[in-house]
């Protein structure tokens, strides 16, 4: 990875106007441009993908009068990226209240993303009315036993989508359940430790703020099967703000919502939508782009806001 000094940094920014990606390797920060200037410069095997989260279509509140419109703006932003994402991960809470037609609206809008495929994991807003019946009838196909969890490989990176909103125990936090954890153990058991792993699920897989349910009660058991890998990137949503943590070879990252921000842990009486003007909220909603470059650990994660 090239180390560039301040003058070089400014020259590069002026030249391409692209986002700067900061990555940490062995505790040393270094920077590179998010997208190469030309396709010929991209190392073989490199790819990028996008994480869209918490679209909450149907939401209408102080921070956003039209969640479908801001989702469309995010999609326009994604389509304008210098490098086309290989696929999109939607990390849950597609709709705000599971009202009739909302799932269709989200699906239609996401068809407009210039990408090969969209993968989904559910948020609690997608399953609370019917225990996941509607969500799984739409997005259960191709997942393990139609239960919603799944894994796939892309250019040597192993992706695992987990469901942690269907096994509630009354404490209001995420839960994976024994079956899914046992499946995960088998799913990654045969992989070499040098395989990059990306895990995506709705509720954070680490204890961001348990008092507000911002944790998954049995995530540690799942993570136990992943800690032997040299590069693990965990992508979550649910909390409508970016929070990051690194634990050894595991990098955790939560995404912004495309609809509205939520307060920082403990800074408000409850984790509901922030009641702020739309113009201010635009600076706190957005999308995440993730880039993989062979030989570079961990994956580079870039968040950008709408405003």
């Amino acid at each position: 990875m090239d180390r560039i000094d301040r003058r070089g940094f400014l020259e590069c920014m002026a030249w391409t106007g692209a986002a700067v990606v900061w990555t940490a390797s062995s505790g040393v920060l270094s920077s590179r441009l998010a997208a190469p200037a030309s396709a010929a410069e991209a190392p073989t095997g490199a790819f990028s993908f996008v994480q869209i989260s918490d679209t909450h279509v149907g939401f209408k509140g102080q921070a956003n009068s039209d969640a479908a419109a801001t989702l469309q703006q995010v999609i326009d932003r994604v389509n304008a990226l210098p490098s086309r994402p290989a696929f999109v991960l939607h990390t849950g809470d597609q709709t705000h209240g599971q009202k009739a037609g909302a799932f269709d609206t989200v699906a239609e809008l996401l068809k407009g993303v210039k990408t090969e495929r969209v993968f989904y994991v559910p948020g609690e807003h997608d399953v609370f009315l019917d225990g996941g019946k509607e969500y799984l009838s739409r997005y259960g196909k191709g997942t393990v036993d139609g239960r919603g969890w799944q894994s796939f490989d892309y250019k040597g990176t192993h992706f695992v989508g987990l469901v942690n909103v269907l096994k509630y125990k009354g404490e209001g936090m995420g839960s994976l359940g024994q079956e899914q954890i046992e499946w995960l153990e088998k799913d990654v058991g045969g992989l070499s430790g040098s395989t990059p792993i990306v895990v995506f699920s709705h509720v954070p897989l680490w204890a961001v703020y348990p008092q507000w349910g911002w944790t998954t009660e049995d995530a540690e058991r799942a993570l136990g099967y992943l800690r032997r890998f040299g590069s693990v990137t965990v992508l979550n949503g649910h909390i409508h703000q970016v929070v990051q943590k690194v634990e050894g070879t595991v990098s955790f990252h939560t995404a912004m919502s495309t609809a509205f921000p939520q307060p920082a842990p403990g800074s408000a009486p409850a984790p509901g939508p922030m009641k702020i003007p739309e113009a201010e909220a635009r600076r706190m909603i957005g999308v995440t782009e993730v880039a993989y470059v062979p030989g570079k650990h961990p994956l580079a994660v870039v968040d950008s806001t709408l405003g």
């Binding site: 705000h96 009202k99 009315l129 984790p271 509901g272």
Partner: protein, 116 residues
């Protein structure tokens, strides 16, 4: 009956007032509480809890949060759809008992209706 006979000798206005008073006293001793039984949902909390009501009372929940909530009874006896901001849900409780309920979206939100 005796009271009514005596009243008929006075002016109409006073007589009417006494009849209304008698009717009100009669009603008050048999009917449920006059004030509506209401639960407000604000900042991810049901209040008041417990809410104590007489048998036959109708309880109205109103969601004051921008986040949707549900009223889902633990026993399955009653349940609401997702309530958007300022939407309401009503339930009439005919049988005495203690009814616990929670929000299906935020499972730590729990409350109780006590029906006497």
């Amino acid at each position: 009956m005796t009271m009514m006979n005596r009243v008929s000798k006075r002016s109409k206005g006073t007589g009417l007032a006494v009849v209304l008073l008698a009717a009100a006293l009669l009603a008050a001793s048999h009917a449920p509480a006059a004030s509506p039984a209401a639960v407000g949902i604000k900042d991810f909390k049901f209040a008041p809890s417990p809410l104590t009501v007489p048998a036959g009372a109708t309880v109205t929940w109103t969601n004051h949060d921008e986040e949707p909530h549900t009223i889902t009874s633990t026993s399955g006896a009653f349940g609401s759809a997702g309530l958007s901001n300022e939407e309401t849900f009503t339930q009439t409780f005919t049988r005495p008992g203690t009814y616990t309920y929670f929000c299906a979206l935020h499972r730590h939100m729990k409350a109780t209706v006590v029906v006497r």
